[in-house]
């Protein structure tokens, strides 16, 4: 993980953006995470994450159109960059490597002890 500095929440945000594709902006990302992960997302946390991700170069953003209810304020659409894709792929790989390294018996024992 040294290579890519990503927090857990940032990872979730990026994955969600991949799901949403073209339609990912503040409100849609927040709703998607809330719907899928059944957790309350703080707007402050989300926007901090977006700002940090953009600073690190994992996402890029552009102003889009406005819509009803936004009183003329433009949406800001976010897109995962190539570096961003690499980063989440790297995380996924390291996780899977770790899972594979666990002996099957250990997992079982763990379940039983619970």
């Amino acid at each position: 993980m040294k290579k890519y500095q990503i927090g857990e929440f940032e990872e979730i945000v990026m994955l969600t953006m991949c799901i949403l594709g073209e339609d990912s902006y503040g409100v849609s990302i927040q709703k998607e995470i809330e719907a899928r992960l059944k957790r309350d997302v703080s707007m402050g946390a989300l926007h901090s994450a977006l700002v940090r991700l953009e600073e690190k170069g994992f996402v890029k953003s552009a102003n889009g159109e406005s819509s009803e209810g936004r009183e003329g304020r433009p949406r800001r659409y976010y897109k995962v960059t190539g570096l961003g894709h690499k980063a989440i792929a790297h995380i996924r790989k390291t996780r899977e490597d770790l899972w594979r390294a666990i002996p099957a018996a250990a997992i079982k024992a763990k379940f039983f002890s619970l």
Binding site: M43, H47, V51, S66, G69, R73, P74, R75
Partner: protein, 865 residues
């Protein structure tokens, strides 16, 4: 009016703090959510969620970069001031160290004293309705004699509410005494008091068990502390309605339990027993002409205390048949909140008490701080020479005078702030030993909000004190003059002021030193003066159990023990006899007067055991029938006016007897008051009182063991306790001893801080005159001449300070000593020693640096040009 959009304030707040590069995007998100939620959840819920989101968005990543200049328009200037102040601080490490250490010490001491003063002022203030609670004062007029005190008749508490509808509650309150209590096998000797039924209604000592009504109505009721309840019964709740055995003869029922008395109460007691029992045990209290207990009243809300004072004045008239213009006891009311600090009577009026020490220490605190501030004033103005150019340049560029004043005040503020922080650290270290010394229990004040507002005030005061004068002087420089001249001489006026400040500092310090010496002398005098009886190797054991009824047998047994020399009985302890009476008649007495005599009962061998001196006549003897005979002291003899007192008649109450002996005056009260006339009569040991035992020096331990084993034989129900006369005597003067100790520290602190300032001035003067010194040396001046040159100015100032401080300190210490009826005289050498001491200390300080400057190689100073 209906609002369309989200809460305006939070919306504006968001727009204010959000980073503008994406503010409109996030604002859009917020609004989108908001309008959606208004539809789905209603306006109220949407408003709430909007506010929540705005607050949650207030995070570093979202907030814009604030430019500090935006917040304070003149910030750049202040920043520059701070920077200059900081650089100056580092540039002149010696001066900064002197300034800061002086201020730190001064502040720490002042704050410490402030805490003590505050603690004193807060004493007893925790009672609810404190403004309605009064202590009854009594002034006894007898001929020309006026005597003010808190002693009142024992029936007063019961009578007052019956007569005056304005009095809501009233209660008598006895004097602190030790009594033995037992529950089953457990017995303890505990300190407590007796009080009337209303006591707990007047005061707010919190009850944790029992109800306030009829708490002490029945004669056998007792209210005990939580601590006492725990040690006897396990818990306050279990203690209720249980019985305690009182002094082996009476069962008392616990009607209530109060929370342990805190440090903020001047009255300390572990139990309160019904006043009815007090009256039963002390029949003399039923006579309106005798007084002893204190009385407290609580007036109804809205009562005019001045009117009430007037009404209560002649109250006793209706109860005392002998009441007359010349012979009367006048009552008065003193607000209870003042009683702790104002409790000394002079000529029948309350004048001072502890408040004198509180005021004294307040002054000391302020002066210590001022002395420290003077250092700063002095050094800053002295150093102004070095900064003249800076000021000139600043003014040329366009600095206003007010701006420059602001700059120098900022410097003072920075130094003060550092000193305050250090002082608070020091305070935390010093608090424990200070508490130990003063017998207080002051907690660390750092968590107290009011303390911080005080600290803010002190910081501002110190900044103003120390910064104002230098700021005014330095900012007054005229730029043209300053910049043209190679060396700018500080004008003579500020030089004079500086000298004046040094004189002021040392005057205060010398006053402190003189005060310290005189207080020490007086305390030593108290310790060593011949008080008329031998207080060393004399101990008292309280009478209890069979000791009382078979005192003679007990005494015989005691005398058989090793190390015990003499034994006698006394109703009071010789350090403090408090029973006075006006009921004395003799031949040739002026019927218009009723002088007060102190009276006590003693046993056989009283003179021998206490080692008082017999002037005339004899001691009480077993072979003579002395039951109605008296021994009087010299003061009493003067009042009686008998030429040959032995065998002359004397009547005390209804005891008609004759005088058999005259004892030399001895001090049975503190040295603050004159020795009262004393009448001793023979008492054969009653239910209470004291066995006085004279032991051989060096046999203390074995004597104590022997006395203890006899106690077990004669009074097994009562635990063995004893007191040494010399220790009891020392207890009387604890306050004076504390003052002695504190004055020592404060005087040392004052002179130390002053010398710090002096050292700074010398360092500066030497630096200023480096070239002069070097040239003089080259021309052949020797070290002694140079040292004289550098130091004589300062020493002159200290000598002047000494001269100024002598008359002032003379008045102060004379005033303090006059508070003692018996005191040391002010000796001339006290002044000489303290003045010389100050000069020598100052000289040592000055020489410390002057010599260094004088022996330096002139080449080092001269070659640099």
């Amino acid at each position: 009016m209906k609002r369309e959009g989200p809460p305006a304030f939070f919306h504006a707040f968001f727009r204010w703090y959000c980073n503008p590069s994406f503010m409109r995007n996030i604002e859009g998100d917020l609004l989108e959510f908001y309008h959606e939620r208004v539809k789905a959840l209603g306006r109220q819920k949407a408003d709430f969620l909007f506010v929540r989101d705005v607050i949650r968005l207030f995070r570093p990543a979202v907030i814009r970069r604030f430019n500090i200049y935006e917040l304070i328009p003149t910030f750049g200037m202040y920043r520059n001031h701070l920077k200059t102040a900081w650089r100056n601080l580092l540039n002149n490490k010696a001066f900064s160290a002197i300034n800061i250490s002086g201020l730190t010490l001064g502040l720490a001491c002042s704050i410490l004293i402030g805490l003590w003063v505050n603690d004193e002022l807060q004493m007893d203030k925790f009672h609810n309705d404190i403004d309605r609670i009064y202590t009854v004062t009594s002034v006894e007029y007898s001929g020309d004699e006026v005597n003010g005190s808190y002693y009142t008749p024992g029936l007063l508490g019961e009578e007052l509410p019956k007569v005056f509808p304005e009095v809501e509650f009233a209660a008598n309150f006895g004097w602190t005494q030790y009594h033995t209590f037992a529950v089953a096998e457990k017995k303890m000797r505990i300190q407590g008091n007796f009080a009337g039924d209303d006591f707990f209604k007047i005061f707010s000592y919190p009850l944790i068990a029992g109800s306030k009504d009829n708490l002490l109505r029945a004669p056998e009721s007792i209210v005990i502390s939580k601590k006492m309840a725990k040690s006897f019964f396990g818990s306050p709740e279990q203690a209720l309605d249980k019985t305690l055995r009182f002094e082996t003869y009476k069962d008392l029922k616990v009607t209530g339990v109060f929370d342990d008395i805190g440090d903020n109460s001047s009255e300390k007691f572990e139990y309160i027993i019904s006043w009815q029992l007090m009256m039963e045990r002390n029949q003399w209290l039923k006579d309106w002409r005798n007084s002893g207990p204190t009385a407290y009243v609580k007036l109804k809300p809205g009562t005019d205390a001045v009117m009430m004072n007037e009404k209560i004045r002649e109250f006793i008239k209706n109860y005392d048949k002998q009441y007359s213009k010349l012979l009367r006891l006048e009552l008065g009311l003193q607000p209870y909140g003042e009683t702790y600090l104002h409790s000394t009577f002079r000529n029948g009026k309350i004048s001072g008490g502890r408040i004198e020490y509180v005021n004294l220490f307040k002054l000391v605190a302020i002066f210590l701080l001022v002395i420290a501030c003077v250092n700063f004033m002095n050094l800053s103005t002295a150093r102004s020479v070095k900064r003249a150019r800076e000021i000139g340049v600043r003014k040329t560029i366009g600095a206003q005078r007010t701006t420059l004043i602001g700059q120098f005040m900022t410097e003072a503020f920075v130094i003060t702030l550092i000193a305050v922080v250090l002082a608070l650290g020091l305070l935390n270290v010093m608090l424990t030993p200070f508490n130990l010394l003063t017998g207080k229990n002051i907690p660390s004040p750092l968590t107290d909000i009011s303390f911080w507002s005080w600290m803010f005030g002190i910081t501002m005061f110190t900044t103003m004190m120390s910064g104002m004068y230098p700021a005014v002087v330095l900012s007054s420089f005229r730029p043209a003059v300053v910049l043209k001249k190679a060396v700018y001489n500080v004008n003579t006026a500020s030089g004079l002021v500086r000298k004046g400040l040094v004189v002021f500092q040392f005057s205060l310090s010398i006053i402190f030193i003189i005060g310290m010496i005189v207080v020490s002398q007086q305390v030593n005098f108290i310790q060593s003066t011949n008080i008329g009886y031998e207080k060393d190797n004399l101990l008292y054991v309280p009478i209890s159990g069979r000791m009382a009824v078979s005192f003679d047998a007990y005494k015989r047994e005691l005398l058989r023990q090793p190390g015990i020399v003499d034994v006698t009985y006394m109703s009071d302890r010789p350090v403090e006899i408090g029973n006075s009476t006006g009921g004395v008649e003799w031949e040739g007495k002026d019927p218009e007067t009723r002088p007060t005599f102190t009276q006590a009962q003693v046993g056989y061998d009283f003179i021998r055991t206490t080692q008082t001196k017999l002037v005339l006549g004899r001691d009480f003897l077993p072979e003579a029938n002395d039951s109605s005979n008296f021994i009087i002291n010299e003061t009493a003899l003067k009042i009686l006016g008998y030429k040959n007192p032995i065998g002359m008649p004397l009547t005390l109450w209804d005891i008609k007897g004759t005088i058999v002996g005259v004892v030399k005056d001895f001090h049975f009260n503190t040295l603050h008051v004159a020795i009262d006339p004393l009448i001793l009569r023979l008492g054969k040991g009653r239910m209470w009182g004291w066995t006085l035992i004279r032991i051989n020096a060096g046999h203390t331990q074995e004597s104590l063991e022997a006395i203890g084993s006899l106690q077990a034989k004669f009074s097994p129900e009562v635990p063995f306790t004893y007191q040494f006369a010399d220790e009891e005597y020392g207890m009387l003067y604890q306050r004076e001893k504390i003052v002695q100790q504190l004055s020592r520290y404060f005087a040392g602190m004052a002179i130390f801080i002053s010398c710090l300032g002096l050292l700074g001035s010398v360092i500066f003067a030497a630096a200023q005159r480096t070239k002069e010194v070097s040239i003089r040396k080259v021309m052949g001046a020797n070290v002694r001449q140079i040292v004289t040159l550098l130091s004589s100015d300062f020493i002159k100032l200290v000598v002047i300070a000494a001269a100024i401080s002598f008359p002032i300190s003379y008045y102060i210490v004379r005033d303090w000593l006059n508070g003692f009826q018996y005191h040391v005289d002010i000796e001339w050498w006290t002044f000489l020693v303290s003045g010389l001491g100050a000069v020598v200390i100052a000289l040592a300080t000055v020489l410390f640096h002057a010599v260094k400057a004088a022996v330096s190689n002139p080449v080092d100073a001269l070659k640099s040009e």
